[in-house]
Symmetry: C5
Subunit: 384 residues, 5 copies
């Protein structure tokens, strides 16, 4: 049926995500000027040119092609097989508008797809379901994660997915399952594919969380044993990133819940049972994010306590040394005075035999007494 | 149809917003004396004299005039075209009361419009919808924002908006869309215009939030690298301002939600779909405000930790220097004593050959030992 | 119709509210012994003897009399005009019990009126509505507020109000509006009067809040510029008082909401629209109380940070001075030693020409080096 | 009808509540081994042997007897009069099981009664209502309170109450009201008695709260004026005890609310109005507990601030004294050096006339300058 | 009927739980790769090989056998008696898949059972109820607890339980009750057995909580009397573990509540009354966990306060010693100066008779004055 099968998903172009990139997630958003008419699309100048991939399958065969224009998919949409159009990149207003026309998208839907980031949500239209989710993927350097908006438009026998970037998606195993006909996916409808995609997105949070689990465990040792300024930075960074994760996953729960409860002709009751499983996983992710956030908050408390502990210890050391030697210095100072010893009664100690030995005895007695006092108070040895 | 087309929105008179102005937002409110009859209007003496602008349009033509009295708009209201009366300034009780008569406003509605600030809300009356919202605009100096109450009264084929001030509104692009007939706005009813205005107000929060995002990012660097008293002030200021933003946006969500759910003859179902988009944006704004508030709270924690860190470092330095030199000073003090060296056994070191070199050896040994001890404890070099 | 018109509301007897009075608001309550039968009245021995004022009006005339016994009002109650009986003071069990009989109050209602303080609430009875609210008034000295329970019993054509004290009420303007026939109040029923009284009570929170706004603003400057122990006390005091305000206003919201939603024959639908306005004001008061509470909590944080900052600065100063002079003192101590300079090699510096100048050079070099080090670390000048 | 009237409630045997007893409230609970069959009773070996008191009354007469076995009450239960069986003590499995048989209790009900503590709750059975509440009573030494579970089983014309201990109950006034026929209690049914008992239990929280109010007030003075380690202990103790109170009262609210809403043939609508009053009091208790908890949390903050303040003050003192004297000591050290004054240029000051006076002038100038500097910085006098 | 009765539950093989094991509970989870088809089972390589035990009983007889393959249980399932198949260990994909086939489990159910940990939940299927709970058991060394997922599948006359591990279950008493025919369990259906198992799991939290109660009590003494770094670690550890407990018990409440409310043909109304008791216990466990969490948070506060207190005390000590001796040292330094006493007016004190005694008088006066000052300030004796 299809004549141009290409490999599934091209090797992603190595794009450079700068180090400080993740800072921007909190602050960057593409909103049109206040007062713009609805449907105004904001194209970020750094955005990638969209790649368009089509996978079309039925129980018997499956094929994947890279399309050059959105209109190329029209013949596939008209067939009875399931068509999955995957658009990767938001860098061309023209392509996106033509896409909107091909799929007959409401102007607000197109705006939601393009003007990232949107809150995850589900909206029902006459013959389409719009599902906006956030997909996270671990960074290779283990420092943070990429957060990408994925919009799914589910129609009668097609599904359109729009990703922000060509890199870092979690859909490859699903492409393989379709391609190699593993499991039941090939014999199911578009709603099952939707479930599979949502499931992949939700399960994609787990590896990211595992990274954070390890980082928290490392930090915990560091914060107790050797807290430095870097530790503070790291805790703060983790807290910020967990805040981002939280913002991505919480509304996802409501969105998936809406999908389960909805009476939509597009989603089969059988598939809703599968979606209930996605929902459970989402709740589990939320549980873990909240737990990690609490652990990170605890780390902050321990950091402060460790610092106070350290200051206390330093002060104790200073106090012991100072208060032992300050009286001694005074005593030696006394015998360094130049009172005229020829005048009787003036500093007789200086002329006494054994005066010097007597001086050392006083020194030892005073310092010994003080050290004993400190030892009793528990200041001498810092508790390990 | 209209004979006196003036330019849309006159250039705002440069009014001086004093530096400390924003402090007052928490504490200033125009409430009548307790026990006053309902409908008592409080005119702030600093309030601007109302300017009245009328825009009247249908699919074919649009015209904008500045009116001198509220009654001038009556002929426009009676026509079939959509009339938008925009009143800017609350400084004249007479004008406002006549306005109330022209539009047949309930005395409580007039009170809500004039006695600012009110909480955002929606109230339905027989043939009118009262919508009270807060409009925020960035200050030019990037320090904070202006918060202005906008009251919208939606009627059959008119909309009345009342703003606090003639400056700083976000409606200019909408005036332009009407004037230049961009988009579908000219062919729609007053409810669509209402949506457009609400949309502009909600989207107006985004540029303000972007400012705060940048300020938070700057502050974050400052708080880790070089926390000073100013940093504390800045964090506190941002927290206060975010509190204000929060107070402005939270009830807005409920108000817009009420508009969506209401079965009003004045608002078309089609327009409610657009309002759902406004609602999503409002939720997004709330999300961001809450996120920023949490980030600001984190900054406060980091500030305190940085301070403790700094105190700890200073103490460590003092301790190292003090505890190294205090014993040395004692030793030198001992050999400055004036014990009579002619008495045998009294300070024999002073007469020993090489006594002086021996003294320096002791000094070096003691200080070396202490420094080694500090180095092992990690006190010598402050962790960077 | 009435023969003894007296002046409206007698000048309040100057009663002395002691300074520490407000402390007690948290802890004082008149509860009967556990196990007492319902309806047991607790008369506080300090309570004022009740004054009873009656205002009776219709559209044509209004009159105010001070009654000596509760039974004196019976003829007025039987007439068609609206009767407002205002009882001020809870100091006589006899009077209150007779009042209960005249108005046919349930024993629990009488208990709620007398055994102050009660939580604000609304309870419906066959032909009466019991409304318990808290009325706050600013103290003249600007330090805190008075909190007084007001019980309103609304009947067919009468309203009974019971106040704790004869002083400090917010009803005077309403008495004037009735007396001088301002607004529509004279032509309305008892339910409108009820609205007017509730409105006055709710609006009475605004001046009190304004006081707190000013105090918070003053405190904010103080806490940043010159935090002392008094500042801590003041913050704590404001937090306590806002806690009291909060406790007074929160349940008020529920009570007024109940009044709006209730289908009561005693309250007209038209009046419920006015009550909706009261409700909005109550929510606004709650908003402000919560905002002020958050601001006060912020002040506490800033106070602590300022203290840490101050300690840090002091430590830095001590460290600079100590670590500069301690080595110098050691050096001068060395040359104060009494090693026998006749023995060759013993302290040759003492006999060197220019030895003394050399000594000062060393001193200057050491102290200069240290000061340069401190300057580079930024410890020399405290950041302003 | 009854032949053995004894005095109402025997004088409680003085049992020794150890000092550390209250610590255990958090941790002690009688739960059967996991996996035990339902209805397994756990008898604490320290529990008191049950005393069984019966009060039986109607409008005409009332009588109180101490029973030796549970079965003794059967004739009373069969009569038309109201029977109140009060069992005090949980120390005998045999008695409790026979009690269960006499009253035909579900095995889970008996378990709930005996295996203390349970959460307050209400459960309906065919012809019985089970009400489990917590009764608190002040300790005589004013340190904390006793918390005792009371189980009420309301039947057709009887009520069974089971208390943990024979001491410290709040029911004595009710026994007196029945005995002396005060109020309407004698002419009412068992449901009114139930109300009276619940009312006594709820009102029993107020004296306990009054104690805490006083302790908080005392602590507040202490924490500002003279915070010590004991203060910390006291704050912590109050926080723990308020936590206990809170745990006792919160579920009580739900339980009483359930009683009010329930359509039970055992509870008259008229009595439900009285229970509404209990509910209000419960909410008031909750309000106060939460307020006290917040006040206690504030005290903790103030304690920490006071400590920081004190450390700051001590540091300031140390800094002033140290930095004034350290330079002076250096200067005096300089002139104690032994440079050979015969070599020209070596320490010429020592031989100058008035050198000594000049020295003192320098000393005065340096210390005066430093003190002036400290005075300007506000470090000299600690702000009171 | 059964021919191979073995002892109930084999003695658990002593498996070594390493010390750091519990750290992993936060971070370890068996989730399939994102994008895997539903029903993918993840077998942990450390997981135990499943042991399969069958207990089959009716009112007359009961028998327990260890089965070698899941299919061995088929004849028992077909009989009218109640069959309880207990699978302990998740180490064999083959066994688990065959188990799924025998019991006709949905692929998602099997995934939930195997891919631990799941959130506690209840799901209804046509003829099965899936109940996933968490079972906790104390560790023998009193340090923490084991947390194990138990999945219960309730069918018509059977129940299948799947545990993570062969060790540490709380079901032994129930096996004994069945074996020895104690209570009513033998005469009941599978739903009663389900209740008994859930009850055992919920009650299994109490001994664990008792351990934490004791540890908290110990810690509380430690934190006030002698706070060290270990104390901090211990508090942190308890907080982490309580967080785990909380995560295990909170969703359990919802699950059991769902069981109570559900109209399932598999669960009798009579058994739901028993489940209500489980629900109460779960709420009680939650109450206690939350209380313990709050107590642990309090401990953290006290720890910090104690540290501040200790630092304050050390500083006070240093300050007293330093400020007493520093002036003395200065004075003795003065009289150690070498001003030429032959020049008149230079240091006349040195030649005065009694000059030395005068020196000591000054020393005593200065130090006495300072000590008196400190005593008045309350710095001399640390408050105990």
């Amino acid at each position: 049926m299809l004549h141009n099968p290409t490999r599934f998903k091209p090797s992603p172009i190595e794009k450079d995500f700068e180090e400080n990139d993740e800072e921007l997630e909190f602050y960057d958003f593409n909103e049109p000027e206040p007062g713009s008419p609805p449907g105004t699309l904001i194209i970020d100048e750094d955005a990638s040119i969209p790649n368009i991939f089509l996978i079309d399958y039925n129980a018997d065969e499956a094929i994947g092609v890279q399309l050059s224009t959105p209109e190329d998919c029209i013949p596939y949409l008209d067939s009875q097989s399931v068509s999955w159009l995957d658009v990767q990149g938001l860098g061309s207003e023209d392509v996106l508008k033509r896409l909107g026309k091909v799929f007959n998208l409401h102007e607000l839907v197109l705006e939601d797809i393009v003007n990232i980031p949107q809150r995850p949500k589900v909206e029902s239209f006459a013959d389409q379901e719009l599902i906006i989710l956030h997909m996270v993927t671990s960074r290779d350097d283990g420092r943070g994660f990429y957060d990408e908006q994925v919009s799914l438009i589910l129609g009668k026998n097609y599904i359109l997915t729009v990703q922000e970037e060509p890199e870092n998606d979690v859909f490859e195993p699903i492409r393989q399952r379709i391609h190699r006909n593993r499991g039941v996916i090939r014999s199911q409808k578009a709603d099952y594919l939707t479930y599979a995609l949502i499931d992949a997105i939700v399960d994609g949070f787990f590896p990211v969380l595992e990274d954070y689990g390890e980082r928290l465990e490392d930090l915990q040792d560091e914060v107790v044993e050797n807290p430095t300024r870097q530790t503070l930075d790291k805790i703060h960074k983790i807290k910020r990133e967990l805040l981002l994760l939280r913002r991505a996953i919480w509304p996802q729960r409501d969105a998936i819940n809406a999908l389960i409860r909805e009476e939509s002709p597009l989603i089969d009751r059988q598939v809703q049972i599968f979606l209930r499983d996605c929902y459970d996983h989402t709740v589990q992710v939320i549980d873990m994010v909240e737990t990690y956030r609490e652990l990170a908050a605890n780390l902050m408390d321990i950091y402060l306590s460790s610092l106070s502990n350290s200051t206390n210890e330093i002060m104790r050391f200073l106090t012991v040394i100072s208060t032992v030697f300050i009286p001694l210095t005074f005593i030696s100072g006394v015998y360094g005075m130049n009172f005229d010893t020829d005048i009787p009664g003036n500093m007789p100690e200086l002329k006494m035999p054994l005066g010097y030995y007597f001086f050392w005895c006083v020194i030892l007695a005073v310092s010994g007494g003080l050290l004993f006092y400190f030892w009793k108070k528990g200041w001498l040895f810092s508790p390990k």
